[in-house]
């Protein structure tokens, strides 16, 4: 179990994958604070939602999720990317943020969250 119960926002457009991430987070003792599969709803959640951390898919039905990342950066909320593109799919200004290469294991997610938590 995690040291601290994190409230996590999931931004992922593939619902099966989203459900899987949800289950992983629950297994790890965290809480799902919200789920968005499109840019617009994700942006309002990012602006107004109450959560400790966000997991961002890079490509949301053809639109990049970087505007969401920008909001989170401005709010000072930590986040990480999960993408099939790998680091090359991340634009320059967000290259310093952690990236999970899809598909990832529950353990990879756990380590990434810990790194953010204690990094």
């Amino acid at each position: 179990m995690a040291e601290r119960r994190l409230r996590v926002l999931i931004v992922e457009d593939e619902m099966l994958v989203a459900m899987n991430i949800e289950d992983m987070l629950l297994d790890l003792g965290h809480e799902v604070a919200g789920l968005a599969s499109r840019v617009e709803p994700a942006m309002s959640l990012a602006r107004e939602g109450e959560f400790d951390l966000a997991l961002l898919d890079v490509n949301l039905a053809g639109s990049p999720s970087f505007p969401i990342a920008a909001i989170l950066r401005d709010r000072g909320i930590p986040f990480l990317f999960a993408t099939g593109y790998g680091i090359k799919g991340i634009i320059e200004e967000f290259r310093s943020y952690p990236v999970l290469q899809k598909p990832f294991r529950e353990r990879d997610l756990s380590l990434a969250l810990e790194a953010i938590e204690f990094g």
């Binding site: 457009d13 593939e14 619902m15 459900m19 289950d23 789920l35 099939g84 090359k88 899809k102 598909p103």
Partner: protein, 622 residues
């Protein structure tokens, strides 16, 4: 001598002391007396000529001078002639000679012309030199305006042929093996002399000794081949007869020690060639050959320029050259067509994309400094403001000291190629992304299938079935080039595994196009519904039925899966993967709602989705 008339004595006195060639013809027979300066004039006739009658001494030229003597005697008036031609016989051979001379009457006491006082000198050399010179001037004037090598040869041959009153003149080329002489065109004086144009002959057929003279670079002069020691056999005679020639001058033209061409002057009858004629033939051959070579060079140059123009101007590339300091000094017109700028000097930069200038300058600067070949890909700013990708390359040309003389460059439009490469890169990225996302989906299916209390055998069979459903949906989309799929195909493919129960399933609905994401989500949901129906629902007994129907209501798709006459329905206690997938996953993927109603007569799944969402084209599949 004392009896000689005073006039004669006076004349003799003058002649004796004169340094100029002087002769006196005296008496009715015009007997000849002359001083030392005059002695060479009669050549071998001296001293025999002394005291002899003029008509006897000058029998060879009497036709000219006889009437002149007579006229002076009859009229008592002196005469003079300038550059008068006298066909004088020397060494038994008539020569064309030229003279300036005067005849002055010597009048005796009775007032009668008793003798003729003659002074004169030979001007043959001066006259022939002058003629040779003026012919050459006229010839070169004529040749100057002619640009075709063949025309040059023809003009020279006809001018000299006419000038020397010969029968045929022309140029023959020697084949590379040095064995044959080939004539393209020649000049002939008239019908009696056949042209040799278009003919070729074995050179040795004229007599090997004859040809050896030419190969040695010496002018061949034959006055009559029948009298010439170099032409001996009947075979050789046949060759000479074949060209209807008794006499000729042939000037060989050698290049790098090799016989390349001949200039020939032919006469049908034996002919004694004057030294000035031979000299003139040599002059004309040489100067014409120079003109021919110049014309050939010009012809090649024109062809080369034409080639260059085609190569440079019609080439799809821009060709350019640069001075060793890096300044472009020549840029083909195509650059102007592309960019609207000339490209020379500083203007080259104007045709580049601003973002590429620095990089381009640095690379070029490096090459200028080191002499390394230049090769760079950059964008060109086109006239209309658009940008196209181009590749510029250049190589230096060096002189014998190794110094760079000039850079030769070419700029090639590689836009299509570059765009295709870029597209391919995107496709590969996209493919990678899709594969990774599909693996994530497969991972999710595996994870969800293995969850909970389930036997390994059961898990395996469910996992395989779901994977197959996903794979079938991919097949359908691949068939449609991943642009989407018709709804009825998605439904039909999804229930295909239920083939045995096909008669118990109704399917009805309008033609609707689904985007890939919606098609995949619906296919997976239908797989869960079908599996459930076979195991627990309407298809698990003998009489149950399933009806699948859909329609549009405004901008909404309404889809219904309804089971009837199956075993009694009980709402499950918890939600399994299938339920979650439909109620959460499908709803989200379709941008609508999906609800499972566990109605007493059978399960009913109702899906409502916005048409816009399920038909939306995406740049990529997320």
């Amino acid at each position: 001598m004392e009896q000689w008339p005073a006039a004669l004595r006076l004349a003799l006195n003058i002649a004796e002391h004169s340094a100029f060639p002087t002769a006196i013809y005296w008496g009715p027979e015009l007997r000849l007396l002359y001083n030392d300066a005059w002695a060479p004039i009669p050549a071998e006739r001296h001293p025999w000529a002394l005291g002899r009658p003029a008509a006897e001494v000058w029998s060879d030229i009497w036709e000219v001078v006889g009437p002149e003597f007579r006229k002076v005697i009859e009229t008592g008036e002196g005469m003079s002639a300038f550059e008068q031609m006298l066909p004088m016989v020397r060494d038994g051979v008539p020569h064309e000679t030229y003279w300036n001379y005067s005849f002055t009457p010597i009048v005796d006491e009775t007032g009668k012309v008793a003798g003729i006082f003659n002074q004169g000198n030979e001007v043959t050399q001066a006259v022939t030199n002058e003629r040779r010179l003026s012919f050459q001037v006229a010839l070169s004037e004529r040749l100057r305006s002619i640009s075709s090598p063949e025309q040059v040869k023809m003009e020279a041959a006809s001018m000299l042929g006419a000038h020397l009153s010969i029968d045929r003149a022309g140029y023959g080329e020697i084949d590379p093996a040095g064995q044959q002489v080939i004539v393209r065109r020649d000049w002939t004086r008239g019908e009696h002399m056949p042209s040799l144009a278009g003919e070729s002959r074995i050179m040795d057929a004229f007599g090997p000794a004859v040809i050896d003279t030419l190969r040695a670079g010496e002018t061949l002069v034959i006055e009559d081949y029948r009298e010439d020691a170099r032409v001996t056999t009947p075979e050789h005679y046949a060759t000479w007869e074949g060209i209807n020639t008794r006499s000729l001058i042939v000037v060989p033209l050698l290049r790098v020690g090799k016989l390349r061409a001949l200039f020939y002057l032919h006469a049908a009858e034996p002919r004694r060639w004057a030294p000035w004629e031979i000299a003139l033939a040599r002059d004309v051959a040489d100067s014409t050959w120079a003109a021919v070579e110049r014309a050939e060079v010009e012809l090649r140059l024109r062809a080369s320029e034409d080639h260059y123009r085609h190569a440079v101007e019609l080439n799809p590339q821009v060709s350019w050259t640069s001075l060793p300091d890096g300044q472009l000094n020549r840029v083909s017109r195509r650059w102007l067509d592309w960019t609207g700028t000339p490209g020379t000097g500083e203007s080259w930069a104007e045709g580049l994309h601003p973002d590429d200038r620095q990089r381009t300058f640095e690379a070029w600067g490096h090459c200028i400094a080191t002499g390394d070949p230049y090769d760079i890909v950059h964008r060109v700013k086109m006239r209309d403001g658009s940008y196209r990708w181009a590749r510029s390359r250049a190589y230096p040309r060096r002189d014998e000291k190794g110094e760079i003389v000039l850079w030769y460059g070419a700029t090639e439009d590689i836009h299509e190629q570059k765009v295709a490469e870029e597209h391919q890169r995107l496709l590969i990225n996209e493919l990678n992304h899709r594969v990774k996302n599909t693996l994530a989906t497969v991972q999710a299916i595996a994870f969800q299938t293995l969850k909970g209390n389930i036997s390994l055998t059961e898990a395996r069979s469910r996992f395989e079935a779901r994977l197959l459903a996903l794979s079938n949906a991919h097949n359908l989309l691949t068939e449609q080039n991943w642009e989407g799929a018709p709804l009825h195909r998605v439904v039909a493919d999804s229930i295909a595994p239920l083939a045995g129960e096909r008669t118990r399933i109704d399917m009805e609905g309008a033609a609707i196009w689904l985007a890939p994401r919606a098609a995949l989500a619906l296919a997976l949901a239908l797989h869960e519904l079908s599996t459930n129906a076979i195991k627990y629902g309407a298809l698990s007994n003998d009489g149950g039925r399933v009806s699948i129907s859909w329609r549009t209501e405004g901008d909404t798709l309404r889809f219904e899966w309804k089971e009837r006459d199956g075993p009694p329905v009980e709402a499950p206690v918890g939600r399994g993967f299938g339920s979650r997938l439909i109620e959460r996953g499908l709803a989200a993927d379709l941008g609508g709602t999906a609800t499972l109603h566990f109605e007493p007569d059978g399960l009913c799944c109702v899906i409502e989705a916005s048409l816009e969402a399920i038909q939306a084209r995406e740049a990529e599949l997320g």
